[in-house]
Symmetry: C2
Subunit: 418 residues, 2 copies
Amino acid sequence: MPLLVMKFGGTSVADLDRIANAAQKVKREVERGYDVIVIVSAMSGKTNELVGWVEQTSHLYDAREYDAVVASGENVTAGLMALRLQEMGVPARSWQGWQVPINTTSAHSSARFVSIPRDNIDAKFAEGFKVAVVAGFQGVSDEGRITTLGRGGSDTTAVAFAAAFGAARCDIYTDVDGVYTTDPRICGKARKLERIAFEEMLELASLGAKVLQTRSVELAMRYKVKLRVLSSFEETDESSGTLVCDEEDIMESKAVSGVAYSRDEAKITLVTVEDRPGIAAAIFGPLADAGVNVDMIVQNISEKNYEGHTMAVTDMTFSCPTNQVARAKKALEDARTAGVINYDDLVVDTEVAKVSVVGIGMRSQSGVAAKMFAALAAENVNIKVIATSEIKVSVLIDRKYMELAVQALHDAFQLDQA
Amino acid sequence: MPLLVMKFGGTSVADLDRIANAAQKVKREVERGYDVIVIVSAMSGKTNELVGWVEQTSHLYDAREYDAVVASGENVTAGLMALRLQEMGVPARSWQGWQVPINTTSAHSSARFVSIPRDNIDAKFAEGFKVAVVAGFQGVSDEGRITTLGRGGSDTTAVAFAAAFGAARCDIYTDVDGVYTTDPRICGKARKLERIAFEEMLELASLGAKVLQTRSVELAMRYKVKLRVLSSFEETDESSGTLVCDEEDIMESKAVSGVAYSRDEAKITLVTVEDRPGIAAAIFGPLADAGVNVDMIVQNISEKNYEGHTMAVTDMTFSCPTNQVARAKKALEDARTAGVINYDDLVVDTEVAKVSVVGIGMRSQSGVAAKMFAALAAENVNIKVIATSEIKVSVLIDRKYMELAVQALHDAFQLDQA
């Protein structure tokens, strides 16, 4: 029997009516001949309520107890979904993480999968059950304690089950109807993509287009799971939504598939740093230790006359999330005090945004960066920092030009046309 | 290390402040040198919310899914209580039913204990943990599915743990400060009892004084667990509340320990039933099959001239809960239609109440019934049905005299005096 994994997020199971609506979608797939594994999140709001209780009870809480409390939200949805399916005449049962068992590491609140043995669920399918409703986001450790995967972990649970059970597809039902060329709230011409490559999706996810959790895309890429993103709130069929798939499954691709942005960026420059071997490690080591997520890094070497000597010096610029600026400054100042690094000045600019164009087509097509810079220049948008990867070109610009830049790039790469 | 079981019901853990208050009581017992097993209910209102969702989702619901959903309420409290204790510096961890494991039968929603192995919890006490916080009301079946014990099951969980771990005492914290000679809302002279025998508590529990769940008292009696009922909302010490204990632990007892009542009674009389061997079975068999809880039964034999013949006939009277009258009538009428029984008339009186005096002292002291009847006669209360057991005399009376009767009996047996 072919098998499908279907995942419903918190807003898709927010109340009993929505659970019934989701169950209807599951039933349709059963009627199409699939055995189905349904992965459910907690009803929306429930996880936040439970997290709030934990945080109010204990400031530095025991992550094992946090997990035991918070995982209960998904268990409730799983039971209710199984009941709803039974009521519709679909043989279904619920599974909590420890019942499958979903074996994970003991890294509570950020556990990783160790194994998902198929035996128990397969035995129930063999008995005639058509649907296994599995509580997402959770697992069980070697010590027999409940673990959770961290926020968004239900996407990852879905992909892990699809890989473990060799599913024909892993359908992620959510409150948007697919992945777009850019954010439709910013650019009216944004177009839904029929297909997108895993690598592109990873870049978009990490750039703030939060349709899918990054880990779930990584896992899908590794195990070649066909992921589909589609809407819980619309009629859907086998061609709905956006398929996230292997590069090979995309026949022809444009140079650029999408334009992503992130408002939440800050630019920090260390002015006049001595240019010597090991200086980058001396700067970014303390930042990493302080938990600062450094994104783009740019270095310009020059020669300066420093106290009568000519020496090689550099300005070192990097970007990080706005809310990590204070931590970054402290780490760098401490490193200077300790004599690890030296610099003349530390300049922070929090009024910047990152805009990126992403596409696997860049691998074979040249001139993408040039075209991007030209499009921005035509709108008089000044570029502060540039960073490139194999399938992405990112720039830091003044935040006030962000929407303009996104629209200009969407036009320049003709993303409104299929 | 001596061990104590402490149980906190739903109102005692209704919110984070009350959980903190309960944790304070646990900490005090740890400071007195006890290892403690805490049994918790769901935060009050939570179980009803979950039950409501199940019932709205599925009319004839699968009890296995019901149990999986409803048991989650206790898991949340257990985690929060463990966190709160940790925050107070008390080494504690939470235990869900399957983690202990609390092995039960597969009778979902009314499961019974099979075994509670001590190994896992004992190992944690040996590691230095002082408190095991166990989710009440739940267990796990042979098939690895979550079971629940039915409403009020947390009391029973507490007693079962006290028995399994040889606890010095099982303290049931609730919203009343003990067991009273009668309901203080009806009789201002009601007095809190320092001790009460298991047998008496059982009669009081089944008569509607719902301080403890009946099954928990039965279990405590069988395993000679010292049960104590005391208030969550008052300062308590080692002599607070009421101790429910073995008859032998009560030095001297009055003939009567308490007066109980039940408003929820109806009296049904079958008029002119043929008096023949097997007639009682023919009547009460169909009632039992229909799930009617028959309580008191009275039969008066007389001779009647019936169609020219003198034959032995009887009036058969019994009582049952008011909300089962319709079911009882239908069962009896069906039995008459089927020719299993015959009667001239079926008379229902729903305006009755049951009043009982209870006391293990009755076993050795005579005249209790006579004294009871005299007290009621002095108030002109007419007795409709009488039933007696070894430690109880019950009467059915008009409901409008119920409060008067309770007060008169409380006075007659001088229950206000210790």
